[in-house]
Subunit: 344 residues, 2 copies
């Protein structure tokens, strides 16, 4: 069988982008042998600018450069200081764009423009970046359909947990009465530690920040916006609802007290930051808020490194999925599964 050549461009070379570059090296043989294709990295963009080579950049060179604290623009012979990602996309001739740049939920940029440019050029897109999806899901999907290419985003909703895939591919023929998910690792870690170790919110947050689990500005996580982003993407992609963040009632975990967590435990339940879509009338009500659930609930015992979802359906009963050992690698692994689904 002839091995198919797939030219890819990667935008974003932070933790997830670099993990993906490493997977390109580690998985090259498996992709060739089991799935019949090879990826060539024809372009890369990061904050410094971009690097391009139609003959293929070497992922190992990029990883060395990043390890030395330098950016793509510094790559000898191929670096392009200050080149924006959409220009990279226009010039690199890729078949598939990997979008792994940071989520911007204000206007989705520069990711939104990058993805629009790629779809406009009939490139497939695999996005771990939530911003463009949260802000413009129906528009981007319509564009992808019109251009005859795929836009996949299974890494954007809870790492490798197949939240979107189960909803889109396994619940065929079902009505979803309700879905509930724990989609944010930072808040889940903080709530777990508050409950297990009796730490106050402030101490648990400071600890998580010291360990690099929570960001210096933890607002997006702590106040529920990251979970709400993921809920919006699920509502669009699985429930077919053209909703945005404005349609979600959002409450974060700043107000959760140790006493409440301990009382819940004593009563055989747990408090989790639950994202919920519940059928109401002709539509669904969307919310993210700290919620008391019984310990018999499939998501009640999730540990700090797990994320999960449960669908309540009419003819398939309940379907829950829990992914463990979640982190940068598993998010890159989810991007890889999207690439294989498109190219394999």
């Amino acid at each position: 069988m002839a091995v198919k050549q797939v030219r890819v461009a990667l935008v974003g070379a932070g933790n997830i982008g670099r993990a993906f570059l490493q997977l390109m090296l580690d998985k090259a043989e498996l992709l060739r042998q089991r799935h019949g294709f090879e990826m060539t990295l024809v372009g890369l963009a990061d904050r410094s600018g971009a690097a391009l080579d139609p003959a293929g950049l070497r992922p190992a060179d990029i990883l060395s450069l990043k390890a030395a604290g330098r950016g793509a623009a510094a790559l000898p012979a191929h670096g392009q200081p200050g080149m924006p990602p959409d220009e990279l996309v226009r010039r690199c001739g890729a078949d598939l764009l990997l979008e792994a740049s940071p989520t911007n939920i204000v206007d989705g940029q520069p990711g939104l423009r990058t993805i629009e440019t790629a779809l406009g050029l009939k490139m497939h897109v695999v996005s771990a970046n939530k911003g463009p999806l949260v802000l413009a899901y129906p528009h981007l999907m319509a564009l992808a359909r019109q251009q005859g290419v795929a836009l996949k985003h299974s890494a954007a909703v809870a790492g490798s947990c197949p939240t979107v895939n189960i909803g889109q591919r396994d619940l065929l023929g079902c009505q979803v009465a309700r879905l509930e998910g724990i989609f944010n690792m930072t808040t889940n870690t903080i709530l777990c530690r508050m409950a297990e170790k009796g730490l106050s919110f402030d101490v648990a947050l400071a600890q998580a920040q010291a360990e690099g689990i929570a960001e210096a500005d933890p607002t997006l996580d702590i106040d529920g916006w990251d979970a709400a982003n993921k809920l919006v993407i699920l509502a669009n992609s699985v429930l077919g609802l053209p909703v945005t963040l404005a349609d979600v009632e959002v409450e974060g975990i700043r107000g959760v007290r140790i006493e409440a967590l301990q009382r819940a435990q004593a009563e055989g339940s747990a408090i989790k930051l639950l994202a919920t879509a519940a059928q109401a009338g002709d539509g669904y009500k969307l919310a993210v808020r700290p919620t008391t659930i019984p310990l018999t609930h499939p998501l009640a015992r999730l540990t700090a490194d797990q994320m999960g979802i449960i669908y309540y359906t009419d003819v398939q009963g309940t379907i829950a999925a829990v992914a463990g050992q979640q982190g940068v690698l598993t998010t890159a692994g989810a991007m890889l599964r999207d690439v294989v689904a498109i190219c394999g």
Copy 2:
């Protein structure tokens, strides 16, 4: 958009077949509106023989007939006493065969012949019947590929739990180091009740039989063969191993004592009938046996109406799925999802 007409034949009108007929009624509008197709039942076979009508049998008529304790052969104008299912398949002109007849693990018949006949005629096949898959998976899949049709079987491995689908479609790019599953409801129910209520194996079995959860001859379930069947199908379909039952070490639950269950509970663990495929050298070791797992294991707390699986992977971490409220309806629901995946 034009509504596509799909002509289906159903073999087997036991609990699952009848639940599927009911879904044909209940879901007709959803299938038409959301997925753009309509099913017409052009043939049905059961123990009495068959019924055929190229213009379409009415599922409601069949359900009434079965409710009155009669078979397909008794259907006025369309009944064919004694017609075997493979002859029905040859004569009915269906596009898709639904195989829901009882599992025969000795020689897979008559299901194996029925499925071979259908594939030979370029019909898609959706099978909830495990026998043919356990005995002849590589042969049937090769035949389906050669004929350019689909053979789907997500209902054959743990009801609506997406065991096969996650393995085939979400773990793309992964190496599976190990999978573990609880695939048999009868044994899970008996072990749950022994642990919770302190019942002996014999009493718990008799109770399950009285309730219709366990069969009069419970050997296939109790001695682990049903779970082993499902493990063989997963090993073939997900791990790509051309194995059969002879490759699985099988031990049932007859030897599990209340004392052992209670000791496990006291030590923070549970005993479950676990089906396992574990990487060993170049291949996998397959086993079904009562296994002590810690309560932190994602499958340790499964209740009587749940089934589940966990995959241990290299780049997606662990992925567990648990399906609840399992029974006849959810198995029919899983057949429906396969139909939609093929026709939608």
